[in-house]
């Protein structure tokens, strides 16, 4: 859900769009925005699954301090999606535990 019009900030002037791939699904994102922002806009809330209890974790602190938003980005695990900007063609996957195993999660 994008805030397209805002009483103080005015209409949303989109910078150029990019496409990113989340768990195999192609979505559009705004160039330069954090990965987490693009995913939340697309309705995705689970970013990683905990190793032992297989619980969902998502966006929490928003400033790169808590590690809940970490995902596998272009094959690299433990990327803090709340402070990492999107790039054209970026591949993002739900992180399973901390080993960076790929996997699917039923939402």
């Amino acid at each position: 859900m994008r805030v397209t019009n805002h009483p103080i900030l005015g209409p949303f002037h989109r910078r150029s769009e990019v496409t990113i791939i989340i768990n195999g699904k192609v979505i559009t994102a705004i160039d330069g925005e954090p990965i987490a922002s693009a995913l939340i806009a697309a309705g995705i809330k689970t970013f990683r699954i905990t190793r032992v209890r297989k619980e969902s974790r998502g966006y929490f602190c928003g400033i790169g301090l808590c590690s809940d938003c970490m995902m596998v980005v272009d094959g690299v695990p433990n990327v803090r999606t709340c402070i990492t900007p999107v790039k054209e063609g970026m591949k993002i996957e739900t992180q399973m535990g901390f080993e960076g195993e790929r996997g699917d999660v039923e939402s």
Partner: protein
Amino acid sequence: MSGLVAAIEASKTGAKVLLIDKNANAGGQLVKQIHKFFGSRRHYAGIRGYAIGKRLVDDALTNGVEIMLNSSVFSMFGTEMGIIKDGEEARWLRAKKIILCCGASEKAIMFPGWTLPGVMGAGAAQTLINVHRVLPGKRILMIGSGNVGLVVSYQILQAGAEVVAIVEALPKIGGWGVHASKILRCGIPIITSHTIKEALGRRKVESAVIVALDKQNGLSSKTERSLEVDIICLAVGLKPSIELPLMAGCETMFLGSLGGRVPIHDENMETTQEGIYVAGDCAGIEEASTAIESGRLAGTAAAEKLGYLSKESAYDSKEKIRRVLNDLREGPFGIERMKAKKLLNQRAKTLYIHNDRGKTQDA
């Protein structure tokens, strides 16, 4: 904000100033503050936070401040810092004086279900809606009625989502009455003496159970109520970000009224490590107006020590700032912080005597 102000103040005296920020933009929290600020003219009162941020960055650049962005200070040995800029190699830099304006981070409370996606800091939600223009959800429960909880609730409404309720554990409103009045007029209930019992949902927040606190602060189960929400924002306080002061060896003191552990500093904002100053929320959680003034104080004091200001003119400037700081801390909301700051300054004096630094007090 205090960093920009300190940089401007110091550079105006002729000192060479480098401002380092780990973010892509300078200004800290200002970039996401869309409300008009309080205070007086010298605090840019009546102007929206993001506009103050732009103004300060312009002022800094005009005054010759060098700004290094996307750069983290990861280590400190005295006034020598290890800096790493995104995509580059780490390097070491030594400064004659360092002013640490690292701001604050949000506290959290724990309850069953707090790890579900959809539970987030109020500041985190604010960043999403005001900077990235993304709504984290449609129906928000706000925990905490301090200024952050009240202001962010209002901004969530402005962004087009609903705030189902604001829940406050104390029997009174935490923040300023005018912020609360504004949100009440929008029809949002502020439920005091209540807390959140649990968050429920399958892999995301789907509902929350709130409950009243009885006189012994126990949960009074008869009063449980379920609310259909998809986001739970935690606005339960800020604490100073003191990683760098600690790394640099600065001594700290725990003061609840200032948010937690605070670097001990004197009336010049200098810490127990000579040459290292603190300003803004890093020196204790206060307001934007006090952040501006403490930034001015630290910038002036550091420039004076480097010889860019005479003792007399520095004294006049610093005394004026200290008077304003005192005025800002008067009134029911500031009085505890005023006491805490006095304690910090007193402890600083004692420690300097012990450390034999031979600091002379201002006449």
